[in-house]
Amino acid sequence: MPGTSEGDENLIEVKRLCKSFGPLKAVDDISFSCQPGEVFGLLGENGAGKTTTLRMLATILRPTSGTAIVAGHDLVQSPHMVRRQIGVLSTEPGLYDRLTVREMLRYYGELHDMPLPEISRRSEELIEMLDMKAYADRRTGKLSRGMKQKAAIARALLHDPPVLLLDEPTTGLDVVSARTVVNFIQQLRASGKCIVFSSHIMGEVEKVCDRVGIVHRGRLVACGTLDEVTETGQGELEDIFVRLVGAQE
């Protein structure tokens, strides 16, 4: 099976994950794994099945078949336990417009059953780290797109989860904000997080991912380290991608 290795150390172990919406097979038999301190990139076009895969890992959608072990917990059998181990971030920041950044963080902290002093300690830490001091008490509805995405990052990290699921977190951001997000992902990898990162931007993937899986029409058509994937195809990642995806047309 491609992509599964070093069983014990993996924080994420995806096992033959499938998801159908009626007749449509959105995700078709995808398996991969990811270790602490590693960024696994899911690369694919829009509608390839990246978001559905990440939503299943985030326990928001139930797999039609297959499962994944996330930080020792089975996705299908104990989704509640999985939720405590993951932080999610998607293209949409998804903030409550009428709450301030601090209030929003406090709400999510409490949803994660964190004690209040711990919530405010972590919030301040993240506000500092992400340089959000100037607008931490402003309602999120009034913030710019980049500020909102930072607030969403803080929310994903608040309960300090070992696993992060990032679904195209830079889409729609300006260059500076996108770069901030990418740099932050690198920092997180250095601190030992296990990160699944989906994108359709080759440059980003090459910059942050240790290993990649190329998804096309719900299937994993290639999987391995960046070198492995580019070696087999002899060329740049983008060329490989076009050739792999094109071969399926």
């Binding site: 939503r55 985030a58 326990t59 928001i60 959608l61 139930r62 509640h80 939720r83 405590r84 993951i86 999610v88 998607s90 949409e92 920041p93 998804g94 903030l95 409550y96 417009d97 009428r98 709450l99 209030e103 709400y107 999510y108 409490e110 949803l111 994660h112 059953d113 309602r139 969403a152 929310r155 994903a156």
Partner: protein, 400 residues
């Protein structure tokens, strides 16, 4: 379900709702301002219109006035009519220059002398309110004139005029003044307070479910540990509290209006002696009925809101909900709880409205109370269970 999570979600939704300007308008300003306008303004407006119509002189055109000068001067003497000269009476009536036309026939004088029956024709325009009223006034005046002629004739023949009046009617209302007040309140309150209890939380209901979808906040929320049932209960309670807040506020505003100007409402009962009182027990039973109504409507609203894809779609689904209240309201309008068929106490919404009436009229028996409350709680429970199920269905949550 986890009580701590329910409380947490509830608190957040309340904060969110109270910061929403739309809710503030619908929740606080409308009920508080609308009640005094409705209670004080409407009767006053109706009264003033009726007074005005009564005081205003009816403009009358008489065709063949020269044939019955005594009738014309008699009409003028009543002080209710002004006679207008008109060349083309019927046209003037159609154009609204006169309110009614009286046509005195050619044989008027001879018929009176010979004591034969003749015809006085009254033309009016039923499409105009003032003309319709004028026709009524003219008829009463003509009846009086006929009576005066009859009296003259009887007197000429030596009869006593008492001959025509065997008795006078005397009406006496034995209902205590408070009871009259309760009757009037039982007509109005279930509808006006009920509408706030039912629909006061509408925006909150849309916001907490369809709003989460639209803003993209649903995904991060669903990835947090609390069970779906806890999330739903927290949201549901926020909608109920919002509805009740709005209902209670409008009731308070109404009680205040009644205290400030008790005679305004009384004018609707055609007697100024009517007294409006809401003893604590009545108020408590009324509020309990409102709470049950709010509970049911909140559940229905949230179900629809969870199903909707967007804020706008939810608004479309939720706006016909007012009919759900209006139909049972008409159904129970003229029924007192004591006379209501038993099945009405089991019917959702109707049972709550009847309970409100019962509270005001004092006809609420223990079995009726138990049946109404019991059936209401059952419907509410069904609604909540349905919401939790929908909220766990990905086809509903991620409907495209």
């Amino acid at each position: 379900m986890n009580w701590r999570h329910i409380k947490l979600v509830f608190r957040k939704e309340m904060l969110d709702t109270l910061r929403d300007k739309r809710t503030l308008l619908g929740l606080v300003i409308l009920p508080v301002l609308l009640m005094p306008i409705l209670i004080l303004g409407m009767p006053a407006l109706m009264q003033s219109r009726m007074d005005k119509a009564g005081e205003e002189l009816t403009v009358l055109a008489v065709v063949g006035a020269e044939r019955g000068p005594e009738l014309v001067s008699w009409l003028e003497a009543t002080g209710s009519f002004t006679i207008k000269d008109s060349e083309q009476a019927e046209q003037d009536l159609a154009d609204g220059h006169v309110d009614a036309v009286l046509i005195i026939p050619e044989n008027w004088h001879t018929a009176l002398q010979l004591e034969e029956t003749t015809v006085l024709q009254v033309q009016y325009d039923a499409a105009r309110e003032k003309s319709g009223l004028a026709a009524g006034k003219l008829q009463s005046a003509l009846d009086l004139f006929a009576t005066s002629i009859i009296k003259e004739r009887l007197a000429a023949r030596g009869f006593d005029t008492n001959f025509l009046t065997p008795f006078h009617r005397q009406l006496e209302n034995i209902a205590p003044e408070e009871k009259m007040g309760s009757t009037i309140l039982s007509f109005m309150l279930p509808m006006i307070i009920g509408i706030w209890a039912a629909l006061g939380g509408m925006y909150t209901a849309i916001d907490v479910a369809a709003g989460e979808k639209e803003r993209g906040t649903l995904e991060p929320l669903l990835a947090t540990p609390p069970k779906r049932s806890s999330l739903v209960m927290g949201k549901y309670l926020a909608v109920v509290v919002t509805s009740m807040f709005s209902a209670t506020l409008s009731l308070a505003s109404l009680i205040l209006s009644m205290a400030v100007a008790p005679q305004a409402l009384a004018s609707m009962g055609a007697s100024s002696d009517i007294v409006f009182v809401l003893p604590p027990a009545t108020l408590a039973a009324f509020l309990l009925a409102s709470l049950l109504l709010a509970g049911l409507f909140s559940a229905i609203s949230i179900v629809l809101s969870v199903f909707a894809r967007s804020f706008k779609e939810a608004q479309v689904y939720l706006s016909p909900l007012s009919f759900l209240l209006v139909i049972p309201a008409f159904l129970t309008q003229f029924i007192t709880p004591a006379e209501a068929p038993f099945v009405l106490h089991l019917l959702p919404i109707a049972n709550n409205l009847l309970m409100m009436k019962g509270a005001l009229l004092g006809g609420l028996t223990t079995p009726v109370l138990l049946v109404s409350v019991g059936s209401s709680l059952l419907y509410i429970a069904i609604g909540i269970v349905l919401t939790i199920q929908l909220f766990s269905k990905e086809q509903v949550l991620f409907r495209t």
